[in-house]
């Protein structure tokens, strides 16, 4: 097993999926976190393209959060049983990212932030979840794709944690997805990480 170091802000953002995968796989890694000031002052210049997160695999840098997430998912067995399942997992992950990225993470005006958050849930996130709940219920399976935990299940869990923190009542129409989220949060390794991790605003 190579040595791993993840380098990112002390935030969820584009780094948390990698941390969740390490936790679920119970694989050790160095969880390097820096502030925005530290990023600008020194870390940025050390990265391949001036972006983070960066995953160092035996010291060699890999960047782009999708590349990191999918690499770890494949290595740790969270990418389905074949390439078509891998495609559907990426599809769900992409759809969740597209919709949840519409949340106003950086809005400073509290009133505007609340309005924009409401709108993002109403116009984008909830319509997606309606479709997902329907398909998932019809499938009668314990996992979004295939017959084992994938990174799409883990990402759904993380998205639901964010949504529940905002307004848990929004998720009442999605009982099967909520039940999936609860199951994933109990996975050995993940459970401990979730209990211990820094609570970040985004």
């Amino acid at each position: 097993m190579p040595s791993y170091k993840l380098s990112y802000f002390d935030a969820y953002g584009r780094g948390e999926m990698a941390r969740l995968l390490f936790a679920a796989a119970k694989v050790e890694y160095e969880d390097e976190r820096f502030s925005f000031e530290e990023w600008k002052a020194s870390y940025k210049q050390t990265t391949p393209f001036g972006y983070c997160p960066v995953l160092y695999i035996d010291g060699a840098p890999l960047c782009e959060s999708g590349a990191i997430m999918r690499y770890l998912a494949v290595e740790f067995g969270f990418n389905g049983a074949n390439s078509l399942q891998g495609a559907y997992i990426e599809m769900i992950s992409g759809a969740l990212s597209d919709m949840f990225s519409k949340l106003p993470f950086f809005e400073k005006d509290e009133k505007l932030k609340e309005e924009k958050s409401r709108a993002a849930y109403k116009d984008h996130i909830l319509p997606l979840l309606v479709k997902m709940e329907k398909k998932f219920t019809e499938r009668k399976c314990d996992f979004l794709i295939g017959d084992k935990t994938s990174y799409a299940d883990i990402q759904l869990m993380q998205c639901f944690i964010i949504a529940q923190r905002y307004d848990a009542s929004l998720l009442t129409p999605f009982p099967n997805l909520v039940a999936l989220k609860e199951r994933v949060a109990e996975i050995d390794g993940l459970k401990q990480y979730l209990a211990e991790r820094n609570q970040c605003p985004f």
Binding site: P48, F49, G50, Y51, I57, L62, C63, E64, G66, A67, I68, R70, Y71, V74, E75, S83, L84, G86, A87, Y88, I89, E90, M91, G94, A95, D98, P127, L128, K131
Partner: protein
């Protein structure tokens, strides 16, 4: 319907790497392109109200990344192992990030030209210089590993756009330009490039 049908706007956007993969692999597909005026209707029919959508034996697969990574794997253009696949995704991702800053939808021609030049100077050229340096040091024929990947197709397509809109940066990227030319002359790719609609975006 044949095995594969791709549905997208009549433009490159998020479908072009997909079309290039089919071309490079010489695999037939129905290249369904629609105009903007049809989008409101088509949008409602799409599983996540987005395009592109790839129908595989009638079953829809959405999200451009899921589509082109699936096809790349099927067609042997996703590296030889998971680490190479990760580097391919990384290079493609960087190219996508910097080229997506080009103001494709700007209607004012003068503003579009100015901003395109600015994006090339501030974002595209710095990224490409880093890739050029690593690539020329590696002395490889392809960006990652030793065979064509979708990162090479993305690079080729991106540099073709730069040829048209900001050619002044290209002399600094000789090895990437040589790669672009090798890929554009591949059987399958060559024919597709000669016949694809000219994009106004």
């Amino acid at each position: 319907m044949g095995k594969y049908k791709l549905t997208y706007f009549n433009g490159p956007g998020r479908a072009e790497v997909i079309r290039l993969l089919f071309s490079a692999a010489k695999v037939e597909f129905e290249d369904h392109r629609f105009g903007f005026e049809q989008w409101p209707t088509i949008k409602q029919e799409m599983p996540f109200n987005q395009v592109p959508v790839l129908y595989i034996d009638g079953t829809p697969l959405c999200e451009s990344g899921a589509i082109f990574r699936y096809l790349a794997t099927e067609f042997g253009m996703n590296g030889a192992n998971s680490l190479q696949a990760a580097y391919i995704e990384m290079v493609h991702g960087v190219l996508h990030d910097v080229y997506s800053k080009v103001p494709y939808m700007e209607n004012d021609a003068k503003v579009k030209k100015e901003k395109t030049t600015e994006v090339h100077q501030e974002h595209i050229l710095p990224a490409l210089k880093k890739i050029e340096k690593k690539f020329s040091e590696s002395k490889r024929q392809f960006l990652v590993g030793d065979k064509l990947s979708y990162a090479d197709l993305k690079l080729m397509n991106s540099l073709i756009l730069t040829e048209e809109r900001a050619p002044e940066i290209l002399p600094q990227l000789p090895n990437l330009c040589a790669l672009r030319d090798r890929v554009r002359n591949l059987d399958g790719v060559k024919q597709y490039l000669a016949s694809r609609p000219i994009s106004k975006m």
